[in-house]
Subunit: 256 residues, 2 copies
DNA sequence: CATGAATTTTGACATATATCAAACCGGTCA
DNA sequence: TGACCGGTTTGATATATGTCAAAATTCATG
């Protein structure tokens, strides 16, 4: 369960349809006995360095839809790189309110929130059959002391998460419902494109309810916005199958 | 301009009245020729290690209200530890919309957003006369490769920022106006208390407009919420002078 | 201390989104 | 095949917050 966990996985197999951060820090890299690979973590590392990276990681398979990768309050041990499938993260309020804070897909890293308290502060739930690479954080830190490029990369991943969150704050704080949904769809599109998939046709993995939670809206509002987009010829939507018909139009909506 | 920048500064001088993260990673530490100090960065470091930390930092004085510490798009060089005074950070949307993403006070670190792109993604603006310690990031990384406790601390600071942002997302996505304001005031109170200041009486450094931007509300809504709180005996407020009269009542409002 | 500018408060009204409810799917399981 | 069941769409209405405007207050400046 630990062979070449980070080094295998060609071109993002089984790609899911929702995504999150604008870019994702993966690079192509040639590895001794493997074909050209795309990786999520090691950037600018030599073959040997990559192998060391690989040595500390463990592949974990068999997460089914609804399975928890970790729960809020769990003791922090590792970061997780999504190797296939997709997850959502959600925070829970004392009074029962919950909010989806992100949808993560192949190649993205989750668990960063737990570093500061040694305990996870959100839940991570699989949205489909998924695999992850477990990256024990102590070992990751130790290795990054030896490999400056890994160190920098780790810092960039954390910083990127901060920037992503700022973008969501802007969205939640100052955009109207349709602008939020347009921004969501465009972000999705961009992340799909980055993975070599169709940026205009995809299958949503999450419900209207979950989208609404993420965007700070009720599910009915999300549904209505979808319908309006369709009426205006911006998209075609039927349940979770979405086609973006007018990307420039969507961009105009979010004001860029 | 670089002597003992991080090591001086006793007990948070000139404390400002707005704040941000729940805790702030400063510790008391004894240093050779200094009195007991409170520091923002070095945790669990020996005297010698602290001195090395100090050696790479530069004290920068003389930021007046409205001065920019950095602007969105500026090249990234350094993180900044606020030594006195306070700042706000804001992101700007292409179409002119802007949103305050945080109010930072003494002991807090800003600039983390810039690591991932090598350019700052938000503005940092002084809200009063302020001083900062500039921490050149390359040197900080190099030093943290040598000092595991510094490395861990840096990771925690970044993680904490991620958690903070998640909390704001929850606030913006699922709380009503008065709940948001109550959460804001309680957070303020908590951070003041952590600095040994009155958790119930303080002077706001930011306008209703800025609070509104931070909370995703219009300034009139913020003003009305303040007035309602006062009418209900939760607080006493006159312009920017605030007194929290009923902390439990405020906590009930935010649902905890 | 006086004046004007900026900020804050308050009011009346408009509107976006939430709420409640029902109908409509599309798949799953007897 | 038919009945269920979660998810989605759509409609009617309620409500929180935004908008516009004016008055009140505070703050800065000469």
């Amino acid at each position: 369960m630990k062979t070449h966990s980070l080094l295998t996985s060609a071109h993002f197999p089984k790609v899911s349809d929702m995504q999150q951060s604008v870019s994702h820090f993966r690079l192509k890299a040639v590895c001794s006995n493997c074909k050209l690979r795309e990786l999520c973590l090691p950037v600018g590392l030599s073959i040997g360095e990559m192998r060391r990276m690989d040595d500390i990681s463990h592949l974990k398979r068999g997460y089914a839809r609804g399975d928890y990768l970790y729960r809020s309050g769990d003791r922090f041990q590792s970061l997780y790189a999504i190797r296939s499938g997709s997850f959502k993260t959600q925070v829970l309020h004392e009074d029962g309110r919950e909010q989806v804070t992100g949808f993560q897909m192949t190649g993205e890293i989750i668990g960063l929130d737990a570093i500061c308290t040694d305990h996870h502060t959100c839940d991570a739930v699989a949205m489909e059959s998924s695999e992850v690479c477990e990256l024990p954080f102590n070992k990751l830190e130790a290795l990054s002391r030896e490999l400056p490029s890994l160190q920098r990369h780790l810092h960039k991943i954390m910083s990127r998460e901060i920037v992503r969150d700022q973008g969501i704050m802007l969205l939640l704080g100052s955009m109207r419902a349709e602008e939020r949904l347009a921004a969501f769809l465009l972000n999705l599109s961009q992340r799909l494109a980055a993975r070599g998939l169709s940026p205009t046709q995809f299958q949503l993995r999450m419900s209207r309810q979950e989208i609404g939670s993420y965007l700070g809206l009720k599910l009915e509002t999300v549904s209505r916005a979808f319908s309006n987009f369709q009426d205006n010829g911006l998209i075609s939507v039927k349940a979770r199958a979405v086609e973006l018909l007018d990307l420039p139009g969507l961009r105009t909506l979010v004001g860029k």
